[in-house]
Structure formats: structure tokens, C-alpha cells
Symmetry: C2
Subunit: 98 residues, 2 copies
């Protein structure tokens, strides 16, 4: 059932703090949301392509450089939409639960 929630969770995560892939996987795992590498890379690329995310390269102390993603202004607007959708879904479920 978590399908479809992933994009929302990632945008929530990247709205204040820039992260690279392993950060994201780790942070989501701490929030009990499991996500695979092969899922994440295409999703990040798509959000970048759509202008919702931007990235910058940063050196690492150990290993190759990393792509640090952050939400753009356009992404913030899209996130506001998703917040509204999330509220609506909660309303729907609560209504059906009665």
C-alpha cells in the first residue's frame, strides 16, 4: 500500500536538507519506509527532469563524489499540492472507517 507514497516522502525529506541517495535510503528506513536503489535512482532523475529537484556534486572523504538533491521552488509548490492530496486521502479513509 505504500506504493505511490514514495514520491511524497522523498519530497518531504528533501524540502529542507540536501541528501544523496544513501542518505535518503537511510532516512526513509528510519521512518519505516523501505526503498530500493533501483527504485530511487529513476525517481530522482524524473523529479529532476520535471524541475522539482536540483542537485549539486559534493566531494566525499571516502569514495567517488555524490549527487546531493534538494527541492526547488517549483518542487515546494508541487509539495504543497501533495500535502493537500494527503489530507484528502486521510479524510477519505476516516470517512470510510466510520
Amino acid at each position: 500500500m505504500r506504493k505511490g507514497m514514495l514520491e511524497y516522502c522523498i519530497m518531504l525529506l528533501l524540502r529542507h536538507q540536501a541528501c544523496y541517495t544513501n542518505d535518503i535510503i537511510q532516512r526513509l528506513r528510519e521512518a519505516e519506509m523501505i526503498v530500493m536503489e533501483g527504485t530511487l535512482y529513476p525517481l530522482l532523475s524524473r523529479l529532476k527532469r520535471d524541475g522539482l529537484l536540483a542537485y549539486e556534486w559534493r566531494e566525499s572523504t571516502q569514495g567517488p563524489p555524490r549527487k546531493y538533491y534538494l527541492l526547488t521552488d517549483e518542487g515546494q509548490q508541487a509539495l504543497a499540492q501533495l500535502n493537500a492530496s494527503w489530507e484528502e486521502i486521510q479524510r477519505t479513509v476516516n470517512l470510510l472507517k466510520q
Copy 2:
């Protein structure tokens, strides 16, 4: 983002009251969840095949007979699982929102 929520919503809907397809579409629409016929029929068939739903034919005053679906005992157990998943997703989102 409502993707994946549909199965849960339908099982919530059918846990107490038997409905046929147009009932379900109508009731979900009232809860602000739009679902298409072509989505619903395969989903109901799958839940039936998996033993989570059962149906019985009922005559209609106008038109051909209808399949009225209701949640089975096995479906009730599956629904308890989905309720737990739903709680977890809410926890995840709330945690990421901080």
C-alpha cells in the same frame, strides 16, 4: 498518490455492507475517491479469487441481476493487516513532516 489505496478503501467499504459495482463507485465518489469501472471489475475479481471477497447474485427491479460483494472472514483478517499498514504510513509521513 491515491494509487494503492483503492484496495484498502474497498475493503473498508465492504466490511459491513454488501454492495455491487455501481454502489461502490457511488460510495467512493462521496468520499472523494474517484474510481473507474475498468479499474474496479478486475480488482473485485482478484479479491474474490484470493478469498477476501464473496458475492451473491441479487435481482434488480430495473435491469439485469447484480453481483453483491461482501468481505469474507479471511478478508476481515487481511483488512486488519491493512489497518496496521495504514497506521504505519501515517506515522512515517508525520515523522517526515517534522
